[in-house]
């Protein structure tokens, strides 16, 4: 395997892990809030979270690029704080991926939170548990599996990203050239043997991950598949 491909693998794993962790941190409170929310504001936010599912990645890439550029709002602030440009950096990829993979983490969690029986929470409250403790001792254990699913989907979807990464990351080996971009590069330069290896590897990874999730679901006798992403 060429050093560029090894770089691309390291980079992709780093990007997907960072994105997944950030998504779990941000997505959990958001999903909890959404699961309790009725009315227009909740619907609007839910729609916003789901938009990356149906929006062409180029739309997101375009707006993010404008924001991340040195004269863009976010790019300027970033440069002032860190002293480094934001566009075409690893950090830019992380921000883009968090937005792009948000529905894949929030939706399974929200569905799980909605299924938590109200009377359980009321019982916990009667026993004197403050809201945070109710969440930790009742909701989290009941939704454990959905956390696993959300993390797996967030990770896998970030690995599968292409358009956004191409537009805000460029194609810099070792910095922003993730696997999907490396593959694109190889196909373009007619390195079909390498491209085949990479493409087959990605197919096996995605298939394997989903297989494990579905199999686990079946062995638990849970055929409701409540966590499947729905637009």
């Amino acid at each position: 395997m060429s050093p560029d491909v090894l770089d691309a693998i390291t980079l992709t794993v780093a990007l997907a892990s960072t994105t997944t962790l950030l998504l779990l941190l941000l997505g959990t409170p958001l999903a909890w809030w959404l699961s309790r929310q009725r009315g227009n504001l909740g619907a609007l936010l839910e729609a916003l979270v789901a938009t990356p599912l149906i929006l062409p990645p180029t739309v997101l890439g375009f707006y993010l690029l404008l924001m991340f550029a040195p004269d863009g709002a976010l790019g300027q602030a970033w440069q002032a704080i860190t002293g480094r440009p934001l566009a075409f950096s690893f950090s830019a990829l992380v921000i883009g991926s968090v937005i792009y993979s948000l529905p894949f983490v929030v939706q399974p969690l929200q569905t799980a939170f909605q299924k938590v029986p109200r009377d359980l929470l009321q019982a916990a409250a009667t026993l004197g548990a403050p809201p945070w403790d109710q969440f930790r001792s009742v909701v989290v254990p009941l939704s454990r599996r959905s956390f696993l699913v959300a993390a797996a989907l967030g990770f896998a979807h970030t690995v599968g990203e292409f358009g956004v990464v191409l537009m805000i990351g460029g194609n810099i080996p070792g910095e922003t050239q993730v696997l999907s971009i490396a593959l694109y590069d190889q196909v373009e330069s007619l390195q079909f043997a390498e491209a085949h290896r990479l493409a087959a590897g990605l197919v096996l990874f995605s298939l394997g991950l989903l297989f494990l999730l579905y199999r686990d679901d079946r062995t638990r006798g849970d055929h409701r598949h409540h966590w499947r992403v729905q637009a």
Binding site: L21, L24, L25, L65, P70, F88, I172, E175, E188
Partner: protein, 230 residues
């Protein structure tokens, strides 16, 4: 809390550019040439060279949005000149490109509307612009209704022709060594390829530019299918 610490750790260990890496943005036509030549520079100077390739227009767009390249090797003269003016420096020619037609025995195939043609996107790729000027010529007007397939850059145009069942392609000679019919150079704007230093503080970038302009490397560039700079 543990999660937060883990994230901070991950971001810290996230791949940063190793010191001594030279980041070169290169127009797609010239990437294969550099890939073949870079080992020589890396050995001499001990710097790793990382190549990012796309069409000249796409790279320009990335650079003007803050992409962190040290050096830009374009496929035309205008784009690097524009960047050079912004940076109060100058651009320098490193090769002159040639356009060839592949997939036919004669340039008259360009007058055949039944033959599909692949070219690089004229909006972003100088070779695409040159190709568009060629097929606009009056002697090829009969071929106007042909199917035109645009690649994002010359490498993709080549790939579309090579694997996509497209009959013809107008490509840089360096991509298809020993193949194709040369297109007369006065049929399009000269394909003078200029380089510009983007990071004035980078000693390796300066060294790279000097190395690229050295007689040895210039001869290798000509062997790869380019002409000497005027």
């Amino acid at each position: 809390m543990r999660l937060a610490v883990l994230i901070v750790l991950l971001v810290l260990v996230a791949p940063a550019t190793p010191a001594g890496t030279l980041r070169v943005a290169v127009a797609a036509n010239f990437k294969p040439v550099l890939e073949a030549l870079n080992a020589d520079f890396e050995q001499r100077w001990g710097h790793h060279v990382s190549l990012s390739s796309a069409s000249t227009g796409v790279l320009y767009n990335q650079i003007s949005h803050g992409a962190p390249f040290d050096l830009f090797l374009a496929a035309d003269a205008e784009t690097p000149r524009r960047l050079a003016v912004e940076r109060a420096t100058s651009s320098i020619c490193y090769a002159r490109g040639q356009l060839v037609l592949v997939g036919a025995d004669s340039l008259s195939a360009l007058a055949d509307p039944g033959l599909a043609l692949a070219l690089a996107n004229p909006a972003t790729a100088p070779y695409g612009r040159a190709a568009a000027a060629v097929i606009e010529r009056p002697e090829f007007s009969a071929g106007r209704s042909r199917k035109l397939v645009r690649g994002n850059n010359v490498a993709q145009a080549y790939q579309l022709w090579y694997s996509g069942g497209i009959d013809l392609a107008l490509l840089p000679r360096s991509l298809v060594p020993g193949q194709g019919i040369p297109v007369p150079a006065n049929w399009h704007q000269p394909l003078d390829q200029h380089a510009v230093l983007l990071n004035q503080d980078s000693a390796p970038a300066r060294a790279y530019l000097d190395w690229l302009r050295s007689d040895t490397v210039q001869n290798l560039i000509v062997q790869a299918g380019y002409d000497h700079c005027p």
